[in-house]
């Protein structure tokens, strides 16, 4: 959390000093926020697009709206081991070509095509060939991204304060509650 705030400050400072290069998203500068990862700005954008396909915006905000991609990268950077980090970044790097093999640049695909591509990518199976290694990395990358997207989304301030408020005090225990007595709110995403 502190680091993210610090980064925002850093962005503000560096934006003031050298506005043009820091905002040039076409350049592929490696992001310094993630010590153990070599992730470029455009890769982070791609990750954002993917998370937005996993949990899209609607009446209720989606993953990209609440900075879930940053959470994903923090978790990959801090909580995965070196091998897993390598697999993740390999998969992320290989993903654009994987998308092209399905016909087009990922960003240009329709929602349905994006869904289908990610679902197919999650199921890729690897072997010892170089193509197999790549498949393994893509499926690891996509499954990890989905896992952290779901976690980061559900355990976000937005969801836990505005959508499904979390309480530190859960109330007294009732060990036999009839499910039919529980009111189920419908939340439409």
């Amino acid at each position: 959390m502190n680091r993210r705030i610090a980064l925002r400050h850093l962005a503000l400072i560096s934006g003031g000093l050298a506005f043009i290069p820091s905002c040039d998203f076409s350049s592929d500068d490696i992001l310094t926020a993630y010590e153990n990862l070599k992730i470029t700005q455009s890769q982070k954008q791609l990750l954002g697009d993917i998370s937005n396909v996993i949990i899209p915006a609607g009446e209720i905000k989606g993953a990209l709206d609440i900075e879930v991609p940053d959470f994903i990268l923090v978790m990959v950077d801090d909580c995965l081991d070196t091998d897993q980090q390598q697999l993740f970044t390999n998969g992320l790097a290989a993903f654009p070509d994987f998308a092209k093999s399905a016909g087009s640049n990922f960003q240009k695909l329709s929602t349905k095509e994006k869904d289908a591509l990610i679902l197919a990518g999650q199921k890729l199976e690897g072997d010892d060939t170089s193509a197999g290694e790549q498949n393994k990395a893509i499926s690891f990358f996509l499954n990890t991204t989905k896992r952290f997207t779901v976690q980061g989304y559900m355990a976000s301030e937005y969801i836990q304060s505005e959508v499904i408020p979390y309480s530190l005090i859960p109330g007294a225990y009732n060990g036999s509650v009839l499910i039919s007595d529980i009111q189920k709110p419908r939340i439409n995403g």
């Binding site: 680091r3 996993i54 909580c79 355990a155 009732n174 036999s176 009839l178």
Partner: protein, 569 residues
């Protein structure tokens, strides 16, 4: 100069010194202070003041950068403490990191420690079952260790004394192996736990029980808790962060502030105890030598009575490091048994399953405890090919699980509207009594030192054949009980954890009747140095199957009263 020294020595002299501020040390200090004794409490860690020093206590899940998970780098640097279930992002600041206090694992041992004011009382699981004479008479009946010099009748009133102050919730279950105490209203078992309870009665008559585990939580407002500044437990289940309500017993919320209020307690954090000072001419201990954690300077404090409550293995370490001409092998160690007969609780096995009944029900809210299964093996007579037995934890739970299949709008709607109830999940873990043996010991490494220049502790503790047989029996018996209760998909597990992770290490300075075979007498005094009392886990002659903290509290309170009575003679 000479005058200054005398003055300084006077300033550093108290009527009692307590080493350690955890559960047992804080109880000794509280009782001594209540009895008017000017007491110095030494704690090797930093100060942790109730509420003020619980930085995570009111944090929301999303305020943890890694949502509770420990970053990989910290795991890599701390292979030992990372194995502890409670070492998570919200409480990791209350655990000792591996490099802070290195030790030698002759055999694998996960030594989990909490060095701060309050010690592990901030982190404990708060289970407080009394011992019975089936436990105290165990070694004599079954021919292991030595006979306890005390029986239940010696400690019963002290259990009551500490329960009333700490706050213990539970039901009067009327079970021989688990005496009833001074209880606040107990917590309910849920509908499936009650089902299991009834099935046990049906199948095994009055031999096997499931009860709501007695826990050190305030479940009824009473003036004695208000007087401590403590309130009703709010069922948050965030205890390991420190509780702003004082809903569970910790030294920090209860005994230490109470003792400070008497005006008789001086609390000295950041004081790593080096040794207990022994005066050969006087034939008694006269004080404690410490290393200041920041300046690394040695300092001495003096008192006519010393309580050693540094936690089981550290109390061993301090005694072994307290050498003199009279005691070249450690204070009070005339028989060479100091550090030996260390034991622990065997938590290796678990049994889990599902229940397809009561599917129209679920639970709501929170509770700070769960089910407890008292020992039924070898209670009235020896009936198996292993000695002693095991207690077990048991709980049933059911929750809604969101469907996380797929991606896109369907996934999002499923996540936000979790309405699929799974079956009831039931789970149990064993808590087995281990037999103290001479070959399970701790000792000082002759060469290796810790960052304070203190010798490192060698730990040499392992399971034995008795433990292996007990694991098998627990797995078989619990599976059978699960089957008879109609549970399905039953799985048995042995997680092969190494000793230590139970955080119930005990012994090394055991009590006994005979100075030739034990270190402490029936009043917790070193046989050879009666003005030194050891009332923590180190003093345990055997381990029973119950969580030990309540017994340490009762021992410490009892010994404190003994020490004061002695001083008035």
């Amino acid at each position: 100069m000479a005058n200054l020294n005398i003055q300084s020595k006077e300033q550093r002299t108290y009527e009692a010194i307590v080493i350690g501020s955890g559960i047992s040390g804080s109880w000794a200090a509280k009782e001594l202070c209540d009895l008017g004794v000017k007491t110095l409490m030494l704690e090797r860690g930093r100060n942790v003041e109730h509420i003020k020093d619980y930085p995570t206590t009111n944090m929301l899940p999303y305020e943890f950068e890694h949502r509770g998970q420990i970053p990989q780098k910290i795991k890599d640097e701390n292979p030992v403490v990372s194995k502890c279930y409670a070492f998570r992002e919200d409480a990791m600041h209350f655990f000792v990191k591996d490099a802070e206090h290195p030790y030698v694992q002759d055999k694998p041992f996960d030594w989990i420690r909490g060095y701060q004011v309050g010690g592990k009382s901030l982190l404990w699981a708060r289970q407080v079952q009394r011992w019975s004479d089936f436990d105290f008479e165990g070694p004599a009946r079954d021919g292991f260790a030595v006979d306890w010099p005390i029986r239940y009748k010696d400690i019963a009133s002290w259990y009551s004394h500490v329960e009333k102050f700490a706050g213990v919730s539970g039901n009067r279950d009327g079970i021989d192996t688990l005496p009833d105490g001074e209880f606040l209203p107990g917590y309910d078992l849920n509908i499936v736990e009650k089902h299991f309870q009834e099935q046990l009665k049906k199948t095994y008559g009055n031999d096997r029980h499931l009860i709501s585990a007695r826990c050190a939580h305030i479940h009824e407002a009473r003036p004695e808790f208000a007087a401590q500044g403590r309130a009703f437990c709010q069922n948050r289940n965030l205890c390991q962060r420190g509780c702003p309500f004082g809903g569970y017993f910790s030294s920090n919320s209860s005994t230490i502030p109470w003792a400070l209020k008497t005006g008789n307690l001086t609390l000295r954090p950041d004081a790593v105890v080096h040794s207990i000072i022994y005066d050969e001419q006087a034939g008694k201990a006269t004080g404690v030598r410490i290393i200041d954690a920041h300046t690394k300077e040695m300092e001495e404090f003096y008192a006519p009575v010393i309580f050693l409550n540094a936690a089981a293995l550290n109390s061993n370490l301090i005694l072994m490091n307290s050498t003199s001409n009279r005691f070249p092998n450690g204070l009070g160690n005339d028989n060479g048994l100091l550090g030996k007969y260390v034991a622990f609780h065997n938590y290796r096995a678990q049994v889990s399953g599902q229940y397809e009944g009561h599917l129209e029900y679920t639970t709501s809210g929170g509770r700070p405890t769960s089910g407890y299964f008292p020992r039924f093996r070898n209670v009235y007579k020896q009936e198996t090919d292993f000695l002693r037995g095991y207690a077990a934890g048991f709980s049933a739970s059911r929750g809604v699980r969101p469907n996380t299949e797929g991606i896109g709008m369907d996934l999002k709607n499923n996540l936000l509207n979790p309405d699929q109830y799974g079956p009831w999940y039931v789970g149990s873990h064993m808590m087995g009594e281990t037999i103290p043996k001479e070959s399970n010991y701790v000792a000082l490494d002759p060469n290796l030192k810790d960052p304070y220049g203190m010798p490192q502790l060698i730990i040499n503790v392992d399971y034995d054949d008795n433990d292996e047989k007990m694991i098998k029996d627990y797995q078989e018996q619990m599976s059978e009980m699960f089957e008879k209760a109609g549970f399905t998909n039953i799985r048995v597990n042995d997680d092969h954890r190494v000793p230590g992770l139970d955080i119930h290490e005990m012994g090394g300075v055991r009590m006994g009747k005979d100075p030739k075979t034990s270190l402490l007498n029936a009043n917790h005094q070193l046989h050879a140095v009666p003005n030194v009392y050891v009332t923590d886990g180190a003093s345990m002659t055997s381990t029973s199957t119950q969580n030990p903290s309540l017994t340490y509290m009762a021992f410490a309170a009892r010994a404190a009263h003994h020490a004061v009575a002695e001083s008035k003679k």
